[in-house]
């Protein structure tokens, strides 16, 4: 079970994401933004950071990196993809996920332990949780306010595509949305960082590990069925 973690120029949390993958029992595979293939990985994580210096818009340049062409194609074919923070922004810019992430309404960088409620535990990345479960992750962003038009928000709510919701609203996200998924449930974008909550030694606990164990379980199940 191999999970690719993409490093863009300016990625910060790629090594933490690789460590979380390892703790979940999978083998992390480093992918480079200039790669033209995904090295036969079973899933991909787009980590947090400031890809391409956040120039133009967060994620706007990364979206056109060579590796993203491969990720977009594979994601449409069902490959599980998790975008965390900047990775979420990249998934929105790639139109794999609806909406966009704009500057926090209070204009300050948010950096805190944040409780979120899991609203959909049937995606590739959330099966280790129960619906309604409250977990503590780490939120650290300047541009984490999720926005979409009313029609899209209603559609997301109606189809159960809100994956996680903030308890409280730390950045002005519409309907307190912390994470969403695509129609198929294989692509998930999440603003808070589960990879910073996988060990008791550093971070607010191990609540975040479930995102990574979920995809391992999902993929093992898929392989057994195949």
């Amino acid at each position: 079970m191999k999970i690719g973690v993409v490093t863009f120029p300016g990625s910060l949390d790629d090594v933490d994401a690789q460590r979380a993958v390892r703790l979940a029992g999978a083998e992390p595979v480093a992918l480079w933004h200039g790669d033209h293939d995904l090295k036969e990985v079973d899933a991909v994580v787009l980590p947090g950071g400031f890809s391409y210096g956040d120039y133009l818009r967060c994620g706007a340049i990364a979206r056109f990196a060579p590796v993203m062409t491969e990720v977009v194609t594979a994601a449409k074919g069902g490959l599980p993809v998790l975008g965390i923070c900047n990775g979420f922004q990249i998934l929105c810019e790639s139109h794999l996920l609806p909406g966009a992430l704009i500057r926090n309404d209070h204009r300050k960088f948010a950096c805190l332990d944040q409780v979120v409620r899991i609203e959909n535990n049937s995606t590739s990345w959330t099966t280790s949780y129960t619906t309604g479960q409250e977990v503590t992750l780490v939120l650290k962003n300047g541009e984490g306010s999720f926005v979409a038009d009313q029609h899209t928000l209603d559609l997301l709510e109606g189809e159960g595509r809100v994956v996680a919701r903030y308890v409280g609203n730390p950045n002005g996200s519409q309907r307190a949305i912390a994470g969403v998924t695509n129609e198929a449930g294989n692509v998930v974008g999440l603003m808070p960082h589960p990879e910073h909550a996988v060990e008791d030694l550093c971070g607010p606990g191990t609540d975040g590990l479930g995102f990574f164990t979920s995809v391992v379980t999902t993929m093992v199940g898929a392989l057994q069925r195949a």
């Binding site: 706007a60 966009a100 704009i102 204009r107 926005v147």
Partner: protein, 81 residues
């Protein structure tokens, strides 16, 4: 050579925290009577050759795919010289 300007602005219904910060700073400097500030981006493109209809169509495509994010921003294209 032709110079084409692409103006990108946050959509009216999208909160613009940067514009709000600027608006908040104006009264502190003694400038009164500004009821709203919206902050956008201006791109100046130097085109090789004339700004033909075909070239301008390409600029629109650039604006829609990279220079702006249509989910949160509107753009306008104009030829300045």
């Amino acid at each position: 050579m032709a110079r084409v300007v692409v103006d990108v602005m946050p959509k009216p219904e999208i909160l613009d925290p940067q514009g709000k910060a600027v608006q908040g700073a104006l009264p502190r400097l003694g400038f009164e009577g500004v009821s709203e500030v919206r902050q956008g981006k201006r791109f100046e493109l130097e085109l090789e050759g004339e700004a033909t209809e075909e070239r301008l169509a390409q600029v629109h495509e650039m604006a829609a795919t990279l220079l702006s994010n249509p989910v949160i921003e509107d753009y306008a294209v104009r030829v300045v010289s």
